[in-house]
Symmetry: C2
Subunit: 206 residues, 2 copies
């Protein structure tokens, strides 16, 4: 097929693409991402660093790198993070080492990022395409239900999560795509369509 | 879900979208389009007008409106066409009536257009999103094989089709997406992914 393209033209899928998935707490980012990864061998997950406490079902190095405040300070000081944000008093950041090498090898990277961190990834000037996907629940009531059913937190922490979620929705216009997570399989199919379409985009190189 | 969007923000799928499918003769545009239409009730086909002779398997009003040179002149003169081009001595055009009303009713319209006409659709200022999809064969050899196997034309006409195809490939950079038609089901899945992704695009209205 390449022989048919005029000089200086390529499809985006020939290079690595960063797919950034964000959305309010409880919307189901982790479930969507783990299903995506299990179905597409070209996708890698960028494991974030965080200072928050590990939940019982989480594994260090798979879900997050759980680090101390001092270790996080060092990541920032050594320029090891692409972006970082604070959420409910804990810090979350994207290690460059999780992203750049893979993109350079032509793999696509999925990043789970706080809403306010997503734009920073785009502005970081990676030199690779960055696609910003916002995951929303089908309704506000459903979001409240999902955050509650997680049941790991105090009422105050829940109320704070919902307050932050309201604020996060205001950032939707900064994203490229909106995917509704009403049912996991449909949300996954939506993100897969975006990934497939972005790989077919025509790029005019310099 | 709409309640969750900030004011002035919508997803592109709330409005009608024009999906323009072009590509060299013989690449399989008609097969891809008829499969798409059979699977997605939100898609309508824009039937083009042409002055060329009807092929045995074609139906007036389904595949094309087959019109005389005088009728085509009248369509141009009355401003009834969104775009028109000449291909191998015959004229092909897109009637406005096939496109605008449907987009206004929120339906998506699939247009099969000559390569040189695709850009004209975008420049026409429809007031609706226009997505340009270029369909290519997996290789040049395969294109030659497909054009030959149609077997309705003289050797000179075939050679002319191939010469035009070479020139059409130079227009790929004007398109948004490249879909390889190696196998019909895969090409259809590719276009369906593009359609689904475009419907999820976030639009910031004025």
């Amino acid at each position: 097929m390449k022989e048919l393209l005029p000089p200086g033209v390529q499809v985006q899928g020939e290079m690595g693409i960063a797919f950034v998935i964000a959305g309010p707490s409880g919307v189901g980012k982790s479930s969507v991402i783990s299903t995506l990864l299990s179905r597409d061998p070209k996708l890698c997950f960028s494991v974030s660093a965080t200072t928050r406490v590990r939940r019982p079902d989480e594994i260090h190095g798979r879900d997050y790198y759980f680090v101390t405040e001092e270790e996080f300070d060092r990541l920032i000081a050594t320029g090891a993070l692409l972006e970082w944000t604070t959420y409910q008093g804990h810090r979350y950041g994207t290690p460059k080492s999780e992203v750049l090498g893979r993109l350079q090898r032509g793999l696509d990277v999925v990043l789970k990022v706080e809403v306010r961190g997503a734009q920073t990834i785009r502005r970081a000037g990676l030199g690779f395409p960055v696609v910003l996907i916002f995951l929303v629940p089908p309704s506000w009531e459903e979001l409240v239900r999902r955050v509650r059913s997680r049941g790991t937190e105090s009422e105050e922490a829940l109320a704070e999560r919902l307050r932050i979620a309201r604020e996060e929705l205001q950032h939707i216009p900064e994203f490229d795509y909106l995917v509704v997570n009403d049912e996991l399989s449909r949300a996954v199919a939506g993100v897969e369509a975006i990934i497939q379409a972005e790989r077919m985009k025509i790029l005019r190189c310099a």
